[in-house]
């Protein structure tokens, strides 16, 4: 039983800075919860409060069925990967990983087995005798990860555990963590995992649910797909997705019974479904949002009900895809296209960009809430 519940949790740092403004969150037993949010939004702070490393200046944190506000970290049944690693500089990689197990009086041979196994998975078997000083950044980070992985706590706390690894390794580590999660579940000792990341791919692929934080407040808690497809507010819409959603000023207008959205570069007809949602806002200014992949360059596309003409400023080639940055009526848009499909787009020239409006979002300017959900 290791559900983690935060009740109006607040945190004010000694220097007076209020980092967390009342967070309510329920993480189910065995759930994989990802925290995302801009740098400085209090992801680490929240994690550290769950770990018991920071005093909570308001509210309560429950782990399992007890309030842990006054419980020491070591009694909370947690393991943690620190954002700054916090490796013991005087210990070898092996001992860094073994330390927690030694503290819980795990038999030597089991320690050895677990550490070596973890080291194998983390591809740091050769480094077990080295001290942190003699390792590369990524290697250190893996030791820090290993230190948590070898243990079997109720709750795992990961604070950007893969940030310094290369793409390949990230993928395999990611898989490794997920496997661990599955395995523990299968063994009947499910571990709750809270995972802080700034990597969208990790967030989308790993989390059962994702908590989006901003400036010490929760913006939305939902499954990855819902976050991507149904952002509840402007912040989430802009934050999730890379490159991020195009968000431009717009206005809802009605012409001849039909509802249009007027944005820089064009007035686009809204499909019925969307029109319904925003009819009450006719005549008002809103934020209009569309994901880059929902913009089609220079082609008549069946899904596109309207277009905008823009001049291409930059084309970024990513290998499997291309980002096209274009300018329409002084506003910058970005489109994400398949290089195969749009072979002859050139910088500096003007093209028509079709908008898949069935996928668009509109946000109230004041409440910042998504009107189109």
């Amino acid at each position: 039983m290791a559900e983690v519940v935060l009740k109006s949790v607040e945190k004010q740092y000694p220097n007076g800075f209020k980092a967390v403004h009342g967070i309510d969150l329920e993480i189910k037993d065995g759930e994989f919860m990802v925290f995302v949010g801009p740098s400085g939004c209090a992801k680490s702070t929240t994690l550290r409060m769950v770990a018991g490393l920071e005093d909570i200046t308001g509210g309560e944190i429950w782990i399992g069925d007890k309030c842990v506000n006054e419980v020491q970290p070591k009694d909370r049944g947690i393991a943690m990967v620190f954002q700054n690693y916090a490796l013991y500089p005087h210990m070898t990689a092996y001992n860094n990983m073994a330390f927690g197990l030694q503290m819980s009086k795990t038999p030597k041979n089991i320690i050895d087995q677990r550490v070596r196994e973890a080291a194998k998975h983390l591809e740091i078997e050769d480094l077990l005798d080295r001290k942190p000083k003699e390792m590369s950044g990524g290697q250190r980070q893996r030791v820090a990860l290993g230190r948590a992985l070898v243990r079997k706590p109720d709750v795992f706390l990961f604070d950007e555990p893969l940030s310094n690894l290369d793409a390949k390794l990230r993928v395999s580590m990611r898989v490794r963590i997920q496997e661990l999660h599955e395995m523990l579940k299968a063994e009947g000792v499910p571990a709750t995992m809270i995972y802080v990341t700034h990597d969208q791919v990790e967030a989308m692929t790993m989390g059962d649910r994702i908590t989006v934080l901003n400036a010490g407040r929760i913006m939305q808690v939902d499954t990855p797909m819902n976050l991507y497809r149904k952002p509840e507010n402007l912040f989430v819409a802009g934050f999730i997705g890379a490159p991020s959603m195009n968000l431009v000023d717009g206005e809802i207008v009605e012409m001849g019974g039909k509802v249009f959205v007027s944005i820089p570069g064009g007035v686009l007809p809204l499909p019925e479904e969307k029109a319904e949602k925003v009819r009450s806002h006719v005549g008002k200014k809103i934020k209009f949002g569309l994901r880059p992949e929902d913009i089609i360059a220079n082609e008549v596309h069946e899904g596109g009900e309207g277009f905008v003409t823009g001049s291409v400023r930059v084309v970024e080639q990513m290998g499997n895809e291309e980002f096209i940055y274009f300018n329409a009526a002084g506003t910058q848009f970005i489109a994400r296209v398949n290089p195969e499909q749009v072979k002859n787009i050139r910088k500096g020239e003007d093209y028509r960009f079709w908008f898949n409006l069935a996928k668009c979002h509109m946000f109230d300017l004041e409440t910042e809430e998504n009107l189109t959900l």
Partner: protein
């Protein structure tokens, strides 16, 4: 938020934290304070006793461990300050500072430089030189006294403060050098690397980066040198012959003759006064022991 609000907030916050902490540690911290206070009293008692004794009669001083004198009489302080010499204690205090202050300054500088050289650079024959550094610590300096006297005499330095100060400018206090070396070796080089990239030459690395980080250690050096110099008796006694140049440590013992009558309350009153600078300096200096490097600037 204006400054006042902010301060208030911080204060409140602090209080809340404290309470929380107190609650959490409950008995634990109560016990801690009890032990600290009890043992602390043991540590402090001599000072308290000394204070009381400065008002006592000779007989009372040597027969009573209690600190309350039977009557309060400030004459010990008044007469003591006047002294039986041509000068008052003021002179001796000034003299002391004339020795202590330059000595502390040159010690910190020379020690830091030398330690830096040893801790951070490749030096031909470093191992050997370091052994010598350590070796200079090991010979009982009792037997060095006479040769040193002869040496300083040949420099024509007698009856001046030079023998007391100048050697310190050349890092002869190996104790401190070794100490700072050890501290430096515990500090990760990453920050120094950043500083060299930022365009620091090695001396700037030392002054701008290492020294601030080493503050607790350097303050300890200054502190020790201050106190030990304040207390040093034999050095000044041997090298200084003019009474007007005497420091406090000698002045304190001016009126103590083996056979003559000694007004112990005066002697003690002066000892109490002589302790004040050290006390104050210690109290002020140790506040700087708040935060060490905590290496928060470095990841890993």
């Amino acid at each position: 938020m204006n400054e006042q609000d902010r301060k208030k907030l911080i204060a409140e916050n602090d209080l809340r934290l404290r309470k929380r902490l107190a609650r959490r540690n409950g008995i634990n911290s109560g016990l801690r304070y009890f032990v600290l206070t009890f043992v602390g009293l043991l540590m402090l008692y001599p000072l308290i006793w000394l204070l009381g004794a400065s008002f006592k009669s000779n007989a009372e001083i040597f027969t009573s461990i209690g600190f309350l004198p039977s009557s309060f009489d400030f004459s010990g302080y008044v007469n003591g300050w006047k002294t039986s010499t041509e000068y008052t204690f003021t002179t001796y205090f000034i003299n002391t500072f004339k020795i202590v202050i330059p000595k502390v300054i040159v010690t910190v500088i020379s020690v830091t430089l030398t330690a830096y050289g040893f801790a951070r650079f490749k030096i031909p024959g470093k191992k050997f030189l370091f052994s010598i550094l350590i070796a200079t610590l090991l010979l009982p300096n009792l037997v060095l006294r006479i040769p040193q006297y002869i040496m300083f005499n040949s420099f024509n330095w007698l009856d001046s403060y030079k023998p007391l100060i100048v050697p310190s400018a050349f890092a002869v206090d190996a104790f401190f050098v070794f100490m700072v070396i050890q501290f430096m070796r515990g500090i990760p080089k990453d920050l120094e690397e950043a500083a060299t990239i930022d365009g620091c030459n090695s001396i700037q690395v030392l002054t701008k980066i290492l020294m601030p980080i080493l503050k607790p250690a350097l303050i300890s050096v200054a502190l020790f040198q201050f106190m030990w110099t304040m207390n040093d008796f034999l050095g000044p006694l041997i090298y200084i012959s003019s009474v007007r140049k005497y420091p406090v440590s000698i002045a304190l013992k001016m009126s103590m003759d083996a056979s003559a009558l000694v007004h112990w309350n005066q002697v003690i009153a002066l000892s109490v006064i002589a302790l004040v600078p050290s006390l104050v300096v210690f109290f002020l200096a140790q506040r700087h022991f708040v935060d060490g490097i905590t290496s928060s600037g470095i990841k890993g």
